[in-house]
């Protein structure tokens, strides 16, 4: 339990650091937001008044603390360009991106673990070599390009979905999920390839360990050694990898939302960046980072729950 507590403390600390870095970047670099709002023609008095009103004349750390506190309370400020609160703006986009990420994760787990096991067990076979070659090619395709190709293949030729025909989850949930299915493939595809490759090499590596030989010596058949002994050990680095893959998948969703015209978080982020709508950008960046940190923290906790070596070390100190 102590390990979990320490992990949560570290996570909070990292979160604090992230928010500080973001705040620092967006306050120091873009120049005076008062000028940004009023334009360069505004009189110095008007600017000064707005600065006072926006609280820009207070010391940096006070402003940071203020921003952080209201952020923690769910008040992300107001958007410059949409003239509504950032929280309201983001709230109905969250389920879209979330659904897409969860679908991709599910695909990765369901597809790559059996494939990894198969290729490791039939190391050197024709199918193993084919999957290896396929993996290498998939990893070499830029993410949006695979999105385009999927649109071309499944949307235009096979007509399994209507490109650009996004359905909102408020009107039709199955239609919504059906539309998100193909973008999720685009996000998951390179990660599936990487997971298969990593799992295969981990399994082969673990199969050479002494304990696997011990398992054989007790009369296990190859499958028994693989499933009962090796798999759990080989899963440890995979779990860490999936945590990191999640980070990349959030980035992937930004691109893929663009390809499939999905009005998710990524869309809003891009338009806000081009409109220099900093409160929105800040809120999205900090929230995404928070999700990543929490997911990785949970992954660490799962990891130590599976690996008794870390569990004990955590309890000892």
């Amino acid at each position: 339990m102590k390990y979990v507590g320490r992990k949560i403390l570290t996570m909070l600390f990292t979160l604090l650091l992230v928010s500080f870095l973001v705040f620092l970047c967006f306050t120091v670099i873009p120049g005076d937001p008062a000028i940004a709002r009023l334009g360069t023609d505004a009189t110095p008095e008007a600017i000064e008044m707005l600065r006072e009103e926006m609280g820009l004349n207070r010391p940096f750390l006070v402003r940071y603390a203020d921003w952080l506190l209201s952020f923690a309370r769910g008040n992300f400020g107001d958007s410059y360009s949409y003239s509504m609160s950032v929280a309201d703006l983001l709230l109905d986009k969250v389920p879209i991106t979330l659904a897409m990420s969860l679908m991709s994760i599910a695909m990765i787990v369901v597809i790559s673990i059996p494939l990894g096991l198969y290729t490791a067990r039939h190391e050197g076979s024709v199918i193993d070599k084919l999957i290896y070659a396929l993996n290498q090619v998939i990893m070499a395709v830029p993410p949006f390009f695979s999105g385009i190709l999927i649109t071309l293949l499944f949307g235009i030729f096979l007509k399994l979905f209507t490109p650009g025909g996004y359905v909102s989850y408020t009107t039709d949930v199955t239609g919504f999920l059906g539309y998100l299915f193909f973008p999720s493939i685009a996000i998951a595809l390179p990660k599936i390839a990487m997971t298969v490759k990593l799992l295969r090499s981990e399994l082969i590596e673990e199969k050479k360990q002494d304990y696997a030989r011990t398992a054989y010596s007790r009369g296990n058949h190859t499958g028994g050694v693989l499933y009962k002994h090796v798999l759990k050990n080989a899963m440890l680095p995979i779990i860490t990898f999936l945590g990191m893959a999640f980070t990349d998948m959030i980035a992937g969703s930004i691109v893929v939302e663009q390809v499939f015209s999905i009005p998710g978080i990524g869309r809003i982020l891009l338009t806000s960046i081009s409109r220099r709508d900093y409160p929105v950008v800040m809120a999205v960046v900090v929230c995404l980072a928070a999700v990543v940190i929490v997911v990785n923290g949970v992954i660490d906790i799962i990891y130590q729950w599976i690996d008794p070596r870390i569990r004990l070390e955590g309890e000892k100190s």
């Binding site: 320490r6 403390l9 570290t10 360990q209 002494d210 304990y211 030989r213 011990t214 398992a215 054989y216 010596s217 007790r218 009369g219 296990n220 058949h221 028994g224 002994h229 759990k232 050990n233 440890l236 599976i306 690996d307 008794p308 070596r309 004990l312 070390e313 100190s317």
Partner: protein, 519 residues
């Protein structure tokens, strides 16, 4: 009919394009209750033969010829299915590395029960009881507690006992033990040997004991097989072979065992003191880094004092965890947070490590490695070359190896390079931390001879750290016995070994078989 009958076993590798035979015409027969030892140095094929017996050689990249009959059943040609029926039930094996041979993410109980799950139809409760029985037979304290623990929570000796428990849980007819005590301390080693003897007597389990340690084989085995380069050199009754070896190789092997019988010339303590350690205290902080973590301080050295004279070889004997490595680190300056005084030979202390594989930088040539100390003190290039050549000759290496990389050398050659490196900067004191433990017996004897010669030639003082009492007797002028960070006894080896006063010294001597042989 014998229980196990091996006839003309040949094992051939096909890993590379050229087939490579690792075992030639291996023949062996064992009856119920036999204890047979296979001895040989690394590369002799002893482990390969053992793995072939229990069907653990991959059938893909290997061909095996000959016959292995177990209770009249041919094992080489039988199906995998039939072989699995025997594995873990009739034939069991335990390995050298108890650290890595157990699955780190499964409980001890699960692993001990595995053979029962595979070979019997016992209920969960019956399996539990049988596992507890096996753990108790393996003399593990508190078997019920150990049952739920994970391998990393146990010490090396306990893990080996768990391996044994898992191997005997189905009461096999034959137990193959592949260097089961090599990674363990002498006293633990002794306990494991006694445990094997007990199992043999109680259940009549035949034991095939594979080892490089001839004195262990002599203590345990009824018969012995001597192997070299994949071939059997000699086999027969253990005592007969040890008393009257007929083959040259066997004679050489036996001669290479450091003997504690011969008289030593008394060391006269006249050289000047080059190193003085006074009341040294040191502690170790384990795994304590990070903002939220604090390591626990553990005192490992509790008031060590000794003197080392010019030209003296001082032996330091102790088991793992006694603080000998910490002492070595403090003396050579790798550890600075100690209390007490270490005086003399400042900057002129060098070290030789146990593992010659990790103590040479793999990405540099021997030349570069040996020249480095001279480079640091600004010696010119031509002079450096000359000195390196001279040093290589001095440690008995050909100068031609200078442009090779460490991985191209054998273990013995590497250890010679390590010694050469230590001597490049003309040290006054050499700290040798288990310098021969990782080497084969014959190589070991050569390195010991080299160290003794260098001491004569250069007036070198050597602090010789070892767990092996025989080696220490052979080479050291004076011995310190270290236990739990304290020197419990010291003296000249010939007097100390025969008239040990401290209980721990007596225990060590007994465990390593020195006393029994001498009395």
């Amino acid at each position: 009919m014998q229980m196990l009958e091996v006839q003309d076993l040949n094992i051939e590798f096909h890993d590379h394009s050229m087939p490579e035979t690792v075992v030639y015409d291996f023949s062996l027969s064992m009856a119920e209750g036999d204890i047979v030892g296979i001895v040989g140095e690394s590369g002799s094929g002893k482990t390969m033969s053992a793995l072939a017996l229990c069907g653990l050689l991959s059938r893909h990249d290997m061909t095996r010829r000959g016959r292995i009959l177990f209770q009249g059943k041919e094992l080489l040609t039988c199906s995998r299915q039939d072989m699995r029926q025997l594995q873990g039930r009739e034939i069991s094996i335990i390995f050298q590395e108890p650290m890595t041979s157990l699955n780190p993410v499964k409980t001890i109980g699960w692993q001990v029960e595995e053979a029962l799950r595979l070979h019997t139809r016992m209920t969960r409760k019956e399996r539990y009881e049988k596992a507890i029985w096996a753990l108790r037979e393996a003399e593990l304290p508190e078997p019920e507690r150990v049952y739920g623990q994970y391998p990393h929570e146990l010490s090396g000796g306990m893990r080996q006992r768990v391996m044994i428990a898992a191997a005997i849980v189905c009461q096999p007819r034959i137990l193959i033990a592949d260097e089961p005590t090599t990674a363990l301390d002498v006293t633990i080693q002794d306990q494991i040997i006694r445990l094997l003897q007990k199992l043999n007597k109680e259940f009549g389990t035949a034991i095939l004991f594979i080892s490089h340690d001839l004195s262990l084989v002599r203590r345990l085995c009824h018969r012995v097989v001597v192997m070299q380069n994949g071939q059997i050199v000699e086999q027969g009754d253990t005592e007969k072979i040890f008393r009257n070896p007929t083959q040259d190789y066997t004679k050489r092997l036996i001669a290479a065992i450091p003997s504690c019988d011969k008289e030593k010339t008394e060391w006269n303590q006249i050289g000047t003191v080059v190193l003085k350690v006074e009341d040294l205290h040191a502690s170790y902080e384990d795994a304590g880094n990070g903002i939220f973590r604090h390591g626990k301080e553990k005192e490992v050295l509790k008031g060590i004092s000794f003197r080392l004279r010019q030209g003296e070889i001082l032996g330091l004997v102790g088991e793992s965890g006694c603080g000998k490595s910490t002492l070595a680190k403090s003396i050579v300056g790798l550890k600075r947070d100690y209390q007490g005084r270490i005086v003399g030979a400042e900057g002129r202390i060098r070290m030789v490590f146990q593992d010659p594989y990790s103590s040479l930088n793999p990405s540099r040539t021997i030349d570069w490695i040996l020249e480095e100390p001279l480079k640091l003190s600004g010696v010119s290039k031509s002079e450096r070359r000359e000195k390196v050549r001279e040093m290589l000759r001095r440690v008995g290496l050909e100068t031609g190896i200078a442009d090779r990389y460490p991985r191209q050398l054998s273990g013995g050659q590497r250890q010679r390079v390590c010694i050469a490196l230590a001597l490049m900067s003309e040290p006054a004191v050499l700290v040798a931390d288990e310098p021969v433990s990782a080497l084969d017996v014959t190589i070991q004897a050569q390195i010991l001879k080299l160290l003794a010669r260098l001491r004569e030639e250069m007036g070198l003082a050597i602090l010789f750290i070892s767990h092996d009492l025989r080696v220490v007797y052979e080479i050291c002028d004076r011995v310190l016995i270290l236990q739990n960070g304290q020197i419990v006894e010291q003296g000249l080896p010939q007097t100390l070994y025969r008239h040990a006063a401290h209980a721990y010294t007596k225990q060590l001597l007994k465990a390593s078989g020195v006393v029994e042989v001498n009395i």
